[in-house]
Every structure is written in structure tokens, then in C-alpha cells.
């Protein structure tokens, strides 16, 4: 049966926004790891392929009360409403070019399967999906640095963060080679962005493994929320939130911040709702 079981991994991330410096290492590490091409002009951020994109948030207050915060946004690897694996994008892809892997929780993308209808991009509220509007180009000789672990994409297909799935595969091979059944060691499988982050702001691991740091920080609630049954895996850490959690996308990227205004920007709230949500979050578990 296709469903989350105890044996399954559920890889996820928690990003400490108070540590994030907006330096861009994660973005470049990702591009370099995953053979993301670079165009001559990448200043139109709406057609610039950045699997990992760092948003600059601000509290919208005048000098000198201004505050800013950077928010790295990889693919959120949604497990969909009720944690059933029907991510917004996976459920709409007509050709099964993107799929939810129940054994890892990773939302995959098969470039050679995708025919470029872009429905998944429309479905994703995080803009984590990018279309290859152009053929990828590298200046003379620069193709030499392309990694064989991730195939470069042709024009006309959608691509996105894969949690460095090739690293998972390599780790799994290693684990099998070592005679074990599954990846238990946190360090055995880490994404390129996590590895590169000089501030150590990104913690990546298996949310189903209680020994992993990410699980210990996030403390995900395995049960659906009372007020919204679509939401599963809400963090029991009052400083941790997910982007657009109320939609029921059930992302596996968690964010952490001490700053209220940052946490508030994680979701949409009607007047007065945020205070209630924040207090509720804090009082019941904090």
C-alpha cells in the first residue's frame, strides 16, 4: 500500500532564519551541484532558474525601525493535504513527470518525462518550479564542469529542487554496500545547500527519525490539527513555522525565527488571527 509507514523516511529541513545571512552560498551550491545553467541576464527573477531562491523580507517600517530577514526557499516538498502525498504539483501533472516518493517524502521531477505544460508551476504557491524557457548554454569549455550525477535539462521542461536526490541515491548505495538496510546516519545524506551554508542555518534530516536534529528542533505533530484536518506535521516548537501552512500543503521545509514579524510573514492571516495563532502555538506547547 502506498502510504507513509514507519520504515519510510520523511526528509525535511529546518532553516534558522536568524542565522541566515543571505550570503547566497546555498543558491550557488545548488546551481553548481545540479548543473543549473546561467543566462547572460538573470536579473529578471521571474525567468531565472534558482531551485534555491533567497527572498529578502522586511518589516515594512521606516528608518530606523526597519528590519530585514532572508528566507531561503527550496522546493517545499509538500506532502499534500492530510499528508497523503497529493502535493499541489504532483496531483496536477498530467504525465506523472513529477511524483511523490512515499519512501522518502521527496517530490521528484523527471525531466525527460515532462513535456512542459507548466500546470505544476501554476499549482505551486511557492514558485519553486522553473521552466526552461531557453536551451541551457555554457560558454566554450564551461560544460567541462558539469556533473554527471544530474542530467542537464533540455528546453521546454520544468525543473526544481530535488533535495539533491542523487545524493540520496549515492548514500543509499553506500548503506547497502555497508550491509545496512536504510540510512540512519544523518551525515550520510545531506543536500548541497545544507552542506554549503557557512552559517549552519540549514538543518536537514529525516523527520521520521527521532535521533535526527531536524526532528528534535521541529517536533512535528504527527496528528492532524483540530481546527484544520488538512494540516499534519505542524511544529510543536513555537518558534518554528511553515510557509502557507493553512493551505494544507504540508511542506517539509520548516523555518525558525525568534522574530514575530518574520513568523507572521509565513502565512496569510485575517485581522486578529495572527495574534491568536501565535499565542495558541506558544501557550499549548511552549
Amino acid at each position: 500500500m502506498k502510504q507513509n509507514n514507519k520504515q519510510a523516511h520523511k526528509f525535511g529541513m529546518v532553516i534558522d532564519l536568524d542565522k541566515c545571512t543571505g550570503c547566497g552560498s546555498c543558491m550557488v551550491a545548488c546551481m553548481s551541484e545540479n548543473n543549473v545553467p546561467v543566462k547572460e541576464d538573470e536579473s529578471d527573477k521571474k525567468d531565472s532558474i534558482t531551485w534555491m531562491r533567497v527572498y529578502k523580507l522586511n518589516n515594512n517600517k521606516p528608518f530606523p525601525e526597519t528590519e530585514i530577514c532572508y528566507l531561503p526557499r527550496p522546493c517545499q516538498h509538500c506532502s499534500g493535504k492530510g499528508d497523503h502525498g497529493h502535493s499541489p504539483c504532483v496531483s496536477v501533472c498530467p504525465a506523472t513527470a513529477t511524483d511523490y516518493d512515499y519512501s522518502t517524502g521527496i517530490v521528484s521531477q523527471i525531466y525527460t518525462r515532462c513535456f512542459g505544460c507548466r500546470y505544476c508551476m501554476g499549482a505551486c504557491p511557492y514558485h519553486a518550479r522553473y521552466f526552461n524557457w531557453w536551451d541551457p548554454k555554457w560558454p566554450d569549455g564551461m560544460e567541462s564542469y558539469l556533473s554527471p550525477n544530474v542530467s542537464p535539462r533540455m528546453r521546454g521542461v520544468v525543473e526544481k529542487c530535488s533535495f539533491c536526490f542523487h545524493r540520496y541515491q549515492l548514500a543509499k548505495e553506500q548503506v547497502y554496500y555497508d550491509g545496512e538496510e536504510r540510512i540512519e546516519d544523518e551525515a550520510a545524506y545531506q543536500t548541497a545547500c545544507t552542506q554549503a551554508c557557512p552559517a549552519g542555518a540549514i538543518v536537514f534530516g529525516d523527520l521520521n527519525n527521532p535521533d535526527h536534529q531536524v526532528t528534535q528542533i521541529v517536533k512535528p505533530n504527527p496528528h492532524p490539527e483540530h481546527d484544520n484536518h488538512d494540516v499534519v506535521g505542524k511544529s510543536r516548537n513555537p518558534k518554528v513555522f511553515r510557509l502557507l501552512e493553512r493551505l494544507g500543503t504540508n511542506t517539509k521545509i520548516y523555518y525558525m525565527s525568534e522574530r514575530k514579524w518574520v513568523r507572521k510573514l509565513g502565512d496569510n492571516y485575517l485581522d486578529g488571527e495572527w495574534e491568536k495563532a501565535d499565542n495558541h502555538h506558544g501557550s499549548s506547547h511552549g
Binding site: 553548481s32 530606523p64 560544460e143 564542469y145 554527471p148 528546453r155 549552519g200
Partner: protein
Amino acid sequence: MKVDRRSFLGLGLGAAAGVALSPVGAKLTDDSSIWTQTWFLTPVPEDGEITFEPSVCSLCPGKCGINVRKITNRPVKVDGLEGYPVNDGGICLHGISAIQYLYDPSRVKTPMKRNGDTFESISWETAISEIKQKLGDIRKSGSASKLACVSGDDKGSVAQLFQRFLSAFGSNNFYTMPNLESALALTAQTMHGEDATIAYDLENAGMILSFGAGLIEGWGSPVSCFKANASKKDRGSKLYQIEARLSNTAANADKWIPVKPGTEADLALGICAVILKEKMFNAEYAQYFGGNFNKFAAMVQNKYSVANVSQTTGVPEAEIAKLANLFVKFNKSKSVAICGRGKANDAVSLKEFAAVHALNCLVGNINQKGGAWILPQNEYLQFPDVVTDDAADKGLSAKQISTSATGFFSKIKATSKPDIEALFVVNANPCHNLHDAKYITDVVKQVPFVVSFSSFMDETAKQADLILPSHTCLEMMQDLPSGSGVTRQVVGLSKPVVDPVFDTKNPGDAIIELAKSFEGSIAESFPWDDLEGCLSEVASDIWDTLSEDGHVVVSDKAPGSLPSVDFSFLAENPATAALAGDNNEYPLILIPIDNMRVAPGAQASSAFAVKTVADTVIKGKDGFIEINPATAKNMGIKDGSEVKVTTPSGSVVVRATYFHGIMPGYIGMVQGLGHDMNNMYVADKGVNVNELITPVFETGSGLDAAFGSVAKISKA
């Protein structure tokens, strides 16, 4: 056979049915899928064995350990090196991009010789012999001191071989580009009278009082600072950031204290005054306070009263007193004060460095855990004495033209008779990176013989008469000592992890080869075959470990003894360098912004790095100024609209972007843009802020202390 309509139709239908039933359709459909999946315009990277090769990155003063992943000898990824004492696995975006620099479109592929306005390729032999010829003539004419060299820094054997060449040749005119390390050494010299450097134990500091130091903008050794900054949350440490603009560091700090730029020294002295007045200084360390401490104490309390300082800096009086108290009392001796705006590789002022260092001395954190460490210079390179001849001795007796690179360029233009006949530029791009860059370019143009050792056809290389292209960081063997405020004194060994992509050389090898082409004392001063041979001799103490482990930790502890402090320099209350220009004509102040994602050094940003830059920094080819909406609205300037920015040095058209985090009355422009290079990723994107800033020389130190420029803007 007569084909009537009926049989014709039947034939047609039959044929159609036949084709439809045949495997042709299925085959074509299948082929189409295969063809589109092996798309002819998409490269297929060759597979092979994965290997890792550790090395050290030389792209910036950080000198981080890197681990290069290779697939059968071609590097595919650069990661941070786990366990390396500087960065322990962390890496910045520029380091990751090192693989792009290898194939950068603006690389100089062979030695080049100027021919009118163009360059032609020549061989290394020809290039070396041409230089030998020219330099020989200069020496013969008895003006050996007229050879100068501008280098990125003076640490490591490559830079020192160039310096050595100048000495053997007979010139003192060796200059380094402005950098934090030199400022720290100068501060140590001024305040402690020692040939030392200063390092900051940021990862153990309780409170960091930063006077504009961009801890996460690339100050010091960037990754090391990132790590120290990130750990402050867990350690309960605090960062107070003092600067005019809400930089990333300020945003990430526990508190941001806006201050008028250029008045940091005043604020530091004001805090000193409070500490002295309240007798909060460290009595134990005060025993080491030597020359003129009392004079200094009297001076600051007299001249830098809280009221005065508040007036100058714009920081409220209460805030200053609070800062002083906090700084002294925060977990006792663990507070540390640092300075150097942004990446601190731009303008530096000795007064500011000394004033901030005085804070560290007063609080007594010198050589303490979490404090400022006065480390002896890392002298792992023991070069034999330079052999000189008469021509050299004569040249060396001449005075150095200036104390700073900017000063050097500003002086050689002034005289009609050339002060400088030949100029070497290595690991530096003064025509882009020094203030008043256009003027510098003009000066370089006028130097009769310019030799660039750049890997790229950058702004300075374009002015050269000869280019001897260097390897890039991944192709090069060299020793890389840590510095820039890092407490661990480490010497790393950069290794060639890939065969040179083009016909380039290690500049260390090139200078040895050049020296050996001379007869006599110059050649005698360079008795080695190549850089590696040289290193194994001059660094013989550590060479075995270095070549085996890739790095050597020379020391990682604070020195046991305490240095004495000399307050003489500060006691004289040196003048604060003021910006040149009329405030009425230019009502605004332009400050350069350091942005971690834009490389400011000798190398322009990589394609990857440029891609990460926000669309409020570069949009298409347009550059931006940041402006406070309040200031902008007064002038009727809309967000995103074009404006003309004029300073005494020049004027440019850029776009305005609103930013609440910049002090009203100030405009900011990101540094490191506006390159004139044959590289579509960076070419002509934005403008070079250095073209808009006029150098201001600090009295005494002679350093360029222009923290910005007076400016005016109008709708374009």
C-alpha cells in the same frame, strides 16, 4: 490501366489504412520521444570515477580550505573542507564558483602583447625576454627605483617573490591594495609598536561591538566570521552593529545603531571617554598602558564628551553611555570591538582603527579569550637576504613614493617627468578597485611599460603593454597564510587540482623565470627553479607537513604575554578625514555598499554570483542607488526610476531603489559592479562606485580614508 475516380479513392484509402496499420507510426512516435529526450542542444556530462582533492581557496583574504570533487580529472564541484581550521566545511558562493573562473569568458589564454589598441598572442619566452629587455634598459639608465609593483597583498611567497624581485632590482615601490590585514598591522604597529597583526576571537566573544564591520558582508575571513556570527545565538553572545545603513550584518545583529558614516572613530573615542570618566577600564591591563595614556584620557574626556560625540555621530547621548556600560560589563572581559566598514578592503582610517582598538585595550581583552589578540607576524617564510648590486643599492636608497597604493597613483601623475617607468600588477585590479578609478586608469595609461599578471582581461590588464596570464585558484600551487583577523594562524597550501586550461603560469614561477633571465645579483637572489623549489627551501620548517597535510597550524592560542599600549597617536587627537567637496552643492552623501554576493576583489563576480544578485542591485544592465523613501519623495524620485548621480569625481545614470534601512540623506551603491570586461555575465552591469569617489588621504597614515563621497542626484 485507366485510373478512375473510384479506384483512385480506393487506392488512397487503402494506402492510408496500410500506413496506419504498419509500424511506421509507432516507430516515428517512439523515435520522437527518444529524440526529444536526448535533446541535441543539451550537453551530456561524461561519467567517471569520483575523487576529492583538498586545496585552499585564494579568491579572497579568507583563505578557506576547499574540497574539490572531480570526475576523472575534471573538477565539477567545490565544497568547503571539513576540519580546515579557518572555515571547517563552510564555503562562500565565490569559492563554489571557482570552477567557473577556470572557464571564464574573459580569461587571458596566452601571454599577450599590446599592439596599438589591440593585443596579440606571444609566447612565454618572447614575453619574458621583452620584459627583461625593458627592465634592463631602465636599470641601465640608473633609475631602478622607477619599477613599481601593485599587488593584492604582501603575504605568501608569490607576493613576497614580487617584492623580492623589486628589492633585487632596486625599488621600494611595492604597494598592496587596501585591505584589512594591512590596516590591522598598521594599528598594531601604532598602538603596540610591534610588527604584529591583530586577530579577533569572535567565536568566543560575549559582545561584539562592530563599527560597521560587515561580519556577514565579507569582512575578514568571511566564512569564519559567518560561523562566529551564527553561533552567537547559541552562545548568548550579542552583536551591536554601528553603521549608517541596515546592512545584512546590522539586520542580523541584536541591535543596530545608525551612525553618520565617517564618525565611527568619534563614537569609539566617545565611548572611551565614558569608560575613562566612569573609571570602568580594566585596571589590570592598565599597567601596560604606556606612552601618553594620561594625555589620551584627558584629551578624550575633553574633546569627546558624550554631548559632543552625540552631536557629531547622530547617536543619542543615552545610547552612547549605555553602549559604554554594556561593552565593559557584558560578561566582563569578553567584549570585543572591531571596525573597517563592510569588507574593509576599501577606505580605511588609522584613527578609526586605533580608536576602536583603544576600546579593546581599555576593556582589557587583549590576548584574552573572546578578545583582540596581538599576534606576531607569521614568519614561516625565511628568505635568504636579497643580493644587491650598485644599481639596486642606488634605487633602494630612493624613498618610497607613498604609503598606499592610492597615494602612489595620485603622486606619480603630478610630475611631468615619469616617476615610474614600469609597473607590475599582480593579483590586483587598481583601475577598477581604487577610488577615482577613471583617474587611476589614466595614470596607468601614462606609465610607459605596464605588465599585468592577471588571469582575466580586466580593466587594468586592458591598460597593460604585456600580459603574463596567471593560473586561476584551482590551477595554482601556492602557500596561503591566514590573516584578516583570524585567530588561528594557519598556512594553507593551494594545489593545482586541474591542469591549466590555458597557456598560463603561476605568477611565482613567472617572476622566478624573469629574475633568472637577468645576469648577476638579480638572478643570484632567485636561486630556485620554480615556486615549489623555492617554497620547499624558504618554508623548510613547515614544508613537509604543509605538502603532506595541505595546511599547518602555526598557532591557535592567544600569546601568553601582554603587549604594552602606546596612546601617543590618539593622544594627539589626529584629525578625522573629511570628504572633499562642497556640501551645499552636493547635499547628499554616497556610500559604497558591500554585498556578499558581489565579488569586490581582483576577480570580477562569477556568472553564478551575478545570478544571485537581487533585481534591486542589477536590472538588465542598470545599476541602482539605494535611497531612503523619505529622501526620495522629497526630491520627487520614484522607486525604480532613473536618476543621475553626480559627485566631484563624475556622474552616472542609475536607477533608484527605495530602502527604508538607509539613513535619510545618504545614498548607497553596491561595490564591485560596472566592469568593462569581455564577459557577458558581468560586462557593463551596474556602475563602478569607485569612479564616483574621490580619495581623501588621512593625515599621518597617508591612507585613503574616503568612506564615500558628497553627491547630488536629479531625475534622469
